[in-house]
Each structure stands twice: as structure tokens, then as C-alpha cells.
Symmetry: none
DNA sequence: AGAATTGTGAAAAATTTATCACAAACGAAC
DNA sequence: GTTCGTTTGTGATAAATTTTTCACAATTCT
């Protein structure tokens, strides 16, 4: 295929693997706000990408242009063509795929779920829930069901770093009654229950509530029966073009909660995280992040 | 309304009637290929509009800019904002919360991640990956790391229903070498590896590849080293306003893959699902869905 | 330790912008 | 049709900015 048919974006992406660190940094910066960032002065591009001016100059030539102005001229030409061409209109998410492609249909649905869910959420309730979860005086129990235990686990993994005194309970396990033995009325239960709602989860929630624990519930738009006894509950839309439901929206809420709780506890978290980093370094489990 | 909220295009159109001949000519030329023409050199704009250089300079100042570069900077800023928000109108997602609330900031970031990722994905590669995963002749191994194992588990839970012959391996476990003993060259490995990339995962991938297995990789925008040996890899953007990364985009891809694979295997899946339903009913694990 | 990559600082070259004075062109009014 | 005021273009120039390119030092990776 001739270069003429390829956008600069395509060309950069194709070369991405052959690039060195600084070049890749630059490439990402160009793609980040494509094509706007490439249309400013060279020095601004270098600054945004945190690379030096010569690096940009060298890269532009590697891409086959005589100089930066020529590079910009082609970017403008692309932009001209794209705006002119109604087909290039962004009504699909994955450019190369037809709008009926599963990638586009699914993404539409998920975005729609997010919009609906966020539109109905009560920010004060959310803040209150975050405060509960962040409170290190309280024991934190995270409960998930057959599918939702992955969300529970995800939340647990992060909370474990952010604060002490966290437990992950799987309602499908039959060991959970033990955990409830020493529930105090200051405890907080974060419970995930989406359809099909699980009897075990409901029973667990009831027992926790009887012992005075606070209950924060993540459920779907039809609401788990747990919501009647929950102190705070969030319902995420989960409908997608699939035989299954989507956890996307709920994951978004969970991640936001993690971030908020992190901020609330930053003082303690920082020390804990550094400690953890050190332990990971020692085990050499991870590669150095470059 | 303050000028800040108006695009340059709006401002020009509003003034259109008060302009003189040469100025109007220029204005139309700017709007003709908006905003591309305004992003080139001043002299080129003058030439395209068939007006003189001073006319352009004067006009730009009439529009309230200190000079042409400032004019261009604002055009670029508009472009940046526009590309970022194809769905925009929503300046906040959670209506009740200020735009600076974590809920809104986080959602913005996730949507942005999705848009970026989908924009760069190769639908053919995606389809190919789905076909591999759907192929029941091949054994399917799903591998996750310390955090990503929740995604692996999630994919596993669904694949388990959709098709036989699925295994979930946790790279952090030290039991995984056993699983590789009888790897055949028809096997498919779906591997999740996000920063910080895990050495265990890389080793596992290498061994799998040496034995001829196909490798499908889900990673982040900086790409796990596994991507060099992967047959197909997908990089999702994961940046969010948090000390942690977001799995949102990758979850979207995984769920889409589940749905696609489900469709490919619908004939068999149907029977398997009904069977499973029956088993769940017997265990009374779930409440009847109303 | 050596090779490759990247940054620094500077200077020169090239381009672009901003302005000027003045003349030409134009349009409206008389 | 002439006149006057406005608008526009010309050509030139100064100023500002940007691009391009060095050599060399610092850094990173192998």
C-alpha cells in the first residue's frame, strides 16, 4: 500500500514497535490529541511530550518528511479531507468496522449505560459511601456472588493496599458464616449483587444488618432484594447486546470509589503503598516499569 | 454570553454581515475548510482567499486576537476539545455533582479511554481473536496477573459456560508450569498483562509460545513485553485521575469478546446454558428472577 | 564497558508575522 | 461625472518566531 493512502496516525502506529523510548513518548503525545497537537509549533509539541526539540525534528524526518512544516501540511490536508468527508463522521467507535459490528454496538450500549447510571446517581450518597469505606476504624467486608465476586475481588485488592482490616467474602462459599460471628456494629459491608440475585447473598446481608453493620450495595437497575436493607445502594445499568450482562458501569463506580477513598486516606495510603512497592521489588515479581 | 464559550466559527458567522467585501471573502474561506485552513501560515490563508496579507492580519485583530498565532492557538484548542467530545453536550455526567467531582472526572477519563482504544483497534484482528477463542477444537487457557486475574476470572467464568476445555491460570501461582506440560500447538492462550508487567506472565507466555500455542494478549497502552510474541494483541488505555489504573476499557473489550464468541458458538452454548440453568435451579442458589 | 539513545545549549537559517506608507480601486452622495 | 471617504492591495522592511542543525555531554540499555 502506498503511503498516500495512510494517515500519519496510521503510519505512526505501524512504526510504534520500532521506536525508541523518547520517540514512543512523542508518538503517544501526537496521537493523544490527534491531530491538534501536531499543528502547533514544534517546540510546543516537544514540551508536551517531554522530549527535546531535536528528538521531534529527527522523528519527523524518520516519518519521511522533509521537515516539520511539511509534516504539518499533511496533517492539515488530512483534517481537510476528514471534515469534508461525511463518511468519516464519528458515528462509529472503531473506525475500521461497520457500525453494525459488535465492537460498535457494544460500546454504544456501555456508554449509554454509563450515561443513564451517572445521571441518576446521588453524589452525596456516593460521597457518604466513600467515607464509610474509607473509615479505618471500621472493619470492611467485601462480598460478591458467583459472577460479581470478580468486582468484589477487584475492590478488595485495592482496599487491601489502601487500608487495614479488609476482608473478602464469597457468598457462594459456605465458610462465610464464620466471618459474621464477630461482626461489630461499626462494620461496613460492601455487597455486590446483580441478577440473578443470590439467596446466599441476601441471607448474609440480613445477618450483617441484624448485627448492626452498615451496608453499601452495588446492584443493577432492577435492584437486588438486598437494597431494602442496605444503607446506601447504587444501581448500575447493565444491558448490552449480549446474552450476558455488563459489569462495565459498576466497575466504573467501583474504580471511582477506589480513587476517592484513596484520596481520603492519602496520608496513610502513601506509606502503605511504598511499603508494598518495596516488597514487590524484593520478590522481583514485576518488571521495572519504563 | 461571553466570547469564551463561542467558537471562532460562531464569532465569524455572527459578524458576517458587518464585514466588507475582502473580509467576507476571507471569512468564507476560513469557514470553507474549517478549521484546517486557519491552521496554515497566514500567507497561505491570504492566497486561498484571494486577499492580501494585511487584510488577514487586520481581520484577525478585529476578531479580538492579539495576532495570528493567538488565533491559531485557539483554533487548535477548539479542535482538541472537539475531537475529545464527539458525544459531548454532557459537561457533567452526574447531574447533581459539580464538574470537578470525582464521579465526573473519572467518567470523563474512562469515556476518553474507550474512545481512544476503540479508535485504534483493528476490527479484523478482533474478529480473528474471537474466532480463535471460539474454536472448541482448541484448548483455551486464560491467564491473569496480580490485578488482572479478575478480568481473567471474569472471562473464564463466561467461557466455561460457552464452551468446554477452558482453564484459568494465575501467573502469580507457582502451579502454572504444570498446566503447560501438555500444551499442544493448537492451544490458545488469552493473557492479561498490564503495568506493572509481571515476569511470571512473560515467562509463561514464552513457554506457551515455544510449544506453539497461539497467544492473544490484552495489555495497556504501553504494551506488555508479551506483545512481541503475541499473535494478536489489544492495548487499552487505562489512565484515570487516580493512583491506580482503570480496567474499564479492557473490560469492555472482554465483554464484547464474550458476546461475539457467544454468537459464534450459539448453537452449542444454548444447550450448555440450559443445562446450567437446571443445575442452578436444583441448588436453589439463585432467587427466581422476577 | 561499550553502543545507542537522548538531552543541552547555542547559533544560523529560514520562515512567518506585523507594520508601514502609499497608491489604486471602489462605492455612495452630490 | 465628479468627489470624498473608505477599503484594499503592493512592496518593502523590521521584528519575531520557528525550524534546523551542530557538537558534545549525559543517560540508558545491553
Amino acid at each position: 500500500m502506498s503511503d498516500a493512502a495512510l494517515t500519519i496516525s496510521d503510519r505512526i502506529q505501524r512504526k510504534l514497535d520500532d521506536l525508541t523510548r523518547a520517540e514512543r513518548q512523542l508518538a503517544h503525545s501526537i496521537l493523544e490529541n490527534y491531530p491538534a497537537s501536531g499543528l502547533g509549533p514544534l517546540s510546543a509539541l516537544a514540551r508536551d511530550a517531554n522530549v527535546s526539540v531535536p528528538t521531534v525534528a529527527r522523528m519527523v524526518q524518520k516519518l519521511g518528511f522533509k521537515g516539520y512544516p511539511e509534516f504539518q501540511a499533511e496533517l492539515r490536508e488530512e483534517l481537510r479531507a476528514k471534515v469534508k468527508n461525511p463518511i468519516a463522521k464519528h458515528d462509529t467507535w472503531a473506525d475500521g468496522a461497520p457500525s453494525g459490528h459488535m465492537l460498535n454496538r457494544f460500546t454504544d450500549a456501555v456508554i449509554d449505560n454509563i450515561r443513564h447510571t451517572l445521571g441518576q446517581i446521588d453524589p452525596d450518597a456516593f460521597d457518604a459511601a466513600c467515607a464509610l469505606v474509607a473509615d479505618q476504624e471500621r472493619r470492611l467486608c467485601i462480598v460478591g456472588g458467583r459472577i460479581t465476586h470478580v468486582l468484589a475481588e477487584y475492590l478488595f485488592l485495592h482496599m487491601q493496599v489502601i487500608r487495614p482490616n479488609v476482608t473478602h467474602i464469597q457468598s457462594t462459599s459456605n465458610a462465610w458464616p464464620h466471618y459474621l460471628l464477630d461482626t461489630k456494629d461499626s462494620d461496613v459491608f460492601v455487597i455486590f449483587d446483580m441478577r440473578r440475585y443470590e439467596n446466599n447473598t441476601l441471607k448474609l446481608a440480613q445477618m450483617a444488618q441484624e448485627q448492626g453493620a452498615k451496608i453499601v450495595l452495588f446492584t443493577d437497575q432492577w435492584r437486588s432484594p438486598v437494597h431494602q436493607i442496605a444503607d446506601i445502594s447504587f444501581s448500575g445499568r447493565i444491558v448490552v447486546p449480549s446474552a450476558w450482562d455488563s459489569l462495565g458501569t459498576t466497575l466504573l463506580l467501583v474504580e471511582t470509589m477506589i480513587s476517592s477513598v484513596q484520596n481520603l486516606n492519602w496520608h496513610d495510603t502513601k506509606a502503605r503503598m511504598e511499603e508494598l512497592e518495596g516488597m514487590f521489588d524484593q520478590t522481583k515479581l514485576f518488571r521495572k516499569f519504563t
